[in-house]
């Protein structure tokens, strides 16, 4: 379980995050959604310990995140960025195994075993792993990035717009696979996205943000049926359907 308690972040006079408290229940996936600049990425980065909060605490299974344990907690947290954040000078395989090698986790053989296992999980042909990221497609890069995030079998997985840069078909395919992976691994997942369909499909719960505060949280259905304020309905309706013009 990850608990965010009265966390607040300002940049000068601009508020990035008003005091916010959220509980991300163990073994569930929470989609954080909202328009650009709503504070969803700031929230994720504070949780990951990448930027410090002005006030408030983040707690991982009762352990308060601080400078002394941030690196230990990062090793137990998987992190996936929009463009994958893969290192261009290393092969995909080395990207995946890098941290384990550096901190001396496992043997060469056990790491190789883990690579096979994860390649199967994200359905990436193993031969593709010899390529550098520049030689992979966008979808393949995200699969490799997912393998890297999961390599040390983390308790928590944080994803920042992981599918944001992909074409719609690849994106839909990966959504299906991610849902299967989350369901199977039962990790505590926080997924930041701006796509309502994706948020509803992948998240057990959806957390809608606007201007640095949480507007409403609940299942997608709860948000649709009992909107806390007009903005919720507006946001849910904002995604255009392909046939919209004809319907009107």
């Amino acid at each position: 379980m990850i608990e965010v308690d009265e966390v607040e972040k300002n940049y000068g006079r601009a508020t990035a995050l008003s005091p916010t408290s959220i509980r991300f229940a163990a073994g569930t996936t929470t989609s954080v959604i909202g328009p650009s600049g709503c504070g969803k990425s700031t929230l994720l980065r504070i949780v990951a310990g990448l930027i410090p909060a002005d006030r408030g605490t983040v707690t991982y299974d009762g352990e308060v995140l601080g400078p002394e344990n941030v690196n230990a907690l990062r090793l137990r947290t998987g992190f996936v960025l929009q463009d994958g954040g893969l290192f261009p000078h290393l092969t995909a395989r080395r990207n995946v195994t890098l941290v384990a090698q550096v901190i001396g986790r496992g043997t060469q053989a056990s790491r190789e075993e883990r690579v096979k296992e994860l390649a199967a999980l994200v359905r990436l042909p193993e031969a593709r792993l010899s390529n550098h990221p520049g030689g992979l497609s966008g979808g393949e890069r995200q699969r490799v990035s997912m393998m890297r995030a999961l390599f040390l079998d983390p308790s928590w997985v944080l994803l920042d717009e992981p599918l944001g840069a992909l074409d719609p078909i690849t994106r839909r395919g990966l959504q299906t696979e991610l849902r299967a992976i989350f369901a199977r691994l039962k990790k505590t997942v926080i997924l930041v996205t701006h796509d309502m369909g994706e948020a509803a499909y992948l998240g057990d719960r959806v957390l809608l943000m606007r201007e640095g505060r949480v507007v409403q949280q609940g299942t997608a259905r709860e948000l649709a049926e009992h909107p806390a304020e007009p903005f919720v309905s507006e946001f849910l309706r904002a995604q255009r359907s392909p046939l919209e013009e004809e319907v009107v």
Binding site: R74, L81, L158
Partner: protein, 502 residues
């Protein structure tokens, strides 16, 4: 690991370079023809006596640099002139008598002695083109005094020396405007072309006769006698007795005519100093050489390998040091916000110091001439491209990659070594390459303080106004710069990860 291997290799080169110590007599010379010739005669005579090695540190800049090299023990002996000793080197004894006994009373406390008068007086004088002199009816220095329109082109040293231009102005009341400073060897060309009217000359200058110049009479007896003598460290006779005995045979051995002829051998006939010294000591007259040696023969002549080795050593060691210091400085500048401006500012300012000034400044600090101050100077110059490129390379890493390395939980050192430095490697290697190529050029200046390298040829080519010799130094330097470019093409393939190569 590769870097360690390179470091060890360089260390080895350094050690072998400094381990060649035996009893050695270090001979110096100033940067003009006669001084080179006399230096080479002293070196050859000392070495022939046996028992010691004799090294000639050629063309060590002006009097000040050679004298400080003598005082600090970097050289043991060089040819100097009594007037210069009295007026320039012992300024507080200004006006003292010029006999050796009086001079040695002053030199003794410095651990120095003057002796072995060589037999000629090489005095300063002013000269004009004969046609110009005749047109105005100039015969002596007093004739010049009232003229305001004469253009003087004087050597830098003469301009500044207390027995030079300042003395001329106060003794003769010269009315001419501020003279221009010009390299002595080039002054004759300017004079012949009519760009200037009056130059300072040495009385043993072969150009006087060759260019039909009129030497003005010093009618107020301003210039003292400049009798050529050896100026040496007091311990030299005891340290190298046989060499010292051999040097005694030079006493009175060179008259003014002989010296002028040897200067002409170097400047007009293009003989090497070595050949001139050898033929002098063999007791023969001027060698009958019909043609100057071919350019190729001079390019790859006797000292080519030594100069190449010295030049390579200067560049390789200074750039290696620059890399070992510059890369960490660049890292520091990139990651410590408060350190960025001070570091980049400091290495930038270093670059603006003129190289000769920096060298001259380092000699008293390091108490020596030669390789050490040259290496320090080249090292300081090598920093800017390396530090700046390291800083830029690291700062330009995409924020998402930096964040991704952080979020993975990689320890600080691993992040730098495995992610950030490789991502910045292209910029860093380019910085080292720039540094190396620039260093090849800058290292030619090192010859002015006796550090050797191709600059030796350039410096003596300048002193002799011998374009072939200049080119014989400049061409290999340019070739070496190109070689470094090519070498770094290989280094790039070796160090920069393939996907990051341009």
């Amino acid at each position: 690991m590769r870097l360690h291997a390179i470091a060890l290799g360089l260390l080895f080169v350094l050690l072998t370079a400094s381990a060649r110590a035996e009893e050695t007599v270090h001979v110096g010379s100033k940067r003009f023809t006669e001084s080179y010739v006399l230096g080479e005669i002293v070196r050859t005579a000392a070495e022939r006596a046996g028992g010691v090695r004799a090294v000639h540190h050629q063309g060590l800049g002006n009097t000040g640099i050679v004298f400080s090299a003598l005082k600090s023990g970097n050289i043991d002996v060089y040819a100097e002139y009594t007037g210069t000793i009295a007026r320039e080197l012992l300024p507080h004894a200004n006006g003292a008598a010029l006999d050796l006994e009086s001079l040695n009373r002053e030199l003794g406390p410095l651990g120095l002695e003057a002796g072995v008068p060589l037999g000629f007086n090489d005095t300063y004088a002013l000269a004009l083109r004969s046609d110009v002199a005749n047109a105005h009816g100039f015969r002596n220095l007093s004739d010049l005094a009232p003229h305001t329109d004469l253009r003087f082109g004087l050597s830098q040293e003469f301009l500044e020396r207390s027995d030079g231009w300042p003395a001329l102005v106060s003794t003769y009341r010269m009315k001419a405007s501020r003279p221009r400073a010009i390299e002595h060897a080039l002054a004759y060309k300017a004079l012949v072309n009519g760009d200037i009217d009056v130059v300072d000359v040495y009385s043993t200058d072969p150009k006087i006769e060759e260019e039909h110049l009129l030497v003005l009479d010093d009618d107020k007896h301003l210039f003292p006698r400049y009798d050529a003598v050896l100026l040496y460290r007091s311990d030299l006779p005891a340290r190298a007795p046989r060499a010292w005995a051999a040097l005694q045979t030079l006493k009175g051995a060179i008259d003014e005519k002989r010296m002028t002829r040897m200067n002409a051998d170097a400047e007009v006939r293009g003989l090497s100093f070595d050949a001139i010294a050898t033929s002098f000591l063999a007791g023969s007259g001027t060698q009958e050489v019909s043609a100057r040696p071919s350019f190729l023969a001079r390019l790859f002549g006797g000292d080519f390998l030594r100069l190449t080795y010295e030049h390579l050593l200067l560049v390789a060691v200074s750039v290696a040091l620059g890399t070992f210091v510059g890369v960490p400085l660049g890292i520091w500048a990139a990651y410590r916000r408060g350190a960025t401006q001070p570091i980049l500012g400091a290495v930038g300012i270093l670059q603006t110091i003129p190289s000769l000034a920096l060298l001259a400044f380092l000699i008293p600090i390091l108490h020596r001439i030669g390789i050490a101050p040259a290496l320090v100077a080249l090292f300081l110059y090598s920093l800017l491209p390396i530090v700046r490129n390291t800083y830029t390379g690291l700062s330009d890493i995409a924020p998402s990659l930096r964040e991704s390395a952080l979020a993975l939980g990689l320890p600080r050192v691993a992040r730098l070594r495995l992610v950030e430095l490789p991502l910045a490697s292209r910029a860093i290697v380019a910085g080292v390459k720039t540094s190396a190529v620039i260093s090849v050029g800058t290292a030619t200046i090192a010859a002015f303080i006796g550090a050797g390298g191709y600059g030796e040829r350039i410096a003596s080519g300048l002193a002799l106004s011998d374009n072939d010799l200049l080119l014989a130094g400049a061409i290999p330097a340019a070739a070496m710069a190109l070689l470094f470019e090519a070498l770094f093409g290989v280094v790039e393939r070796w160090i920069i990860p393939r996907p990051l190569r341009g």
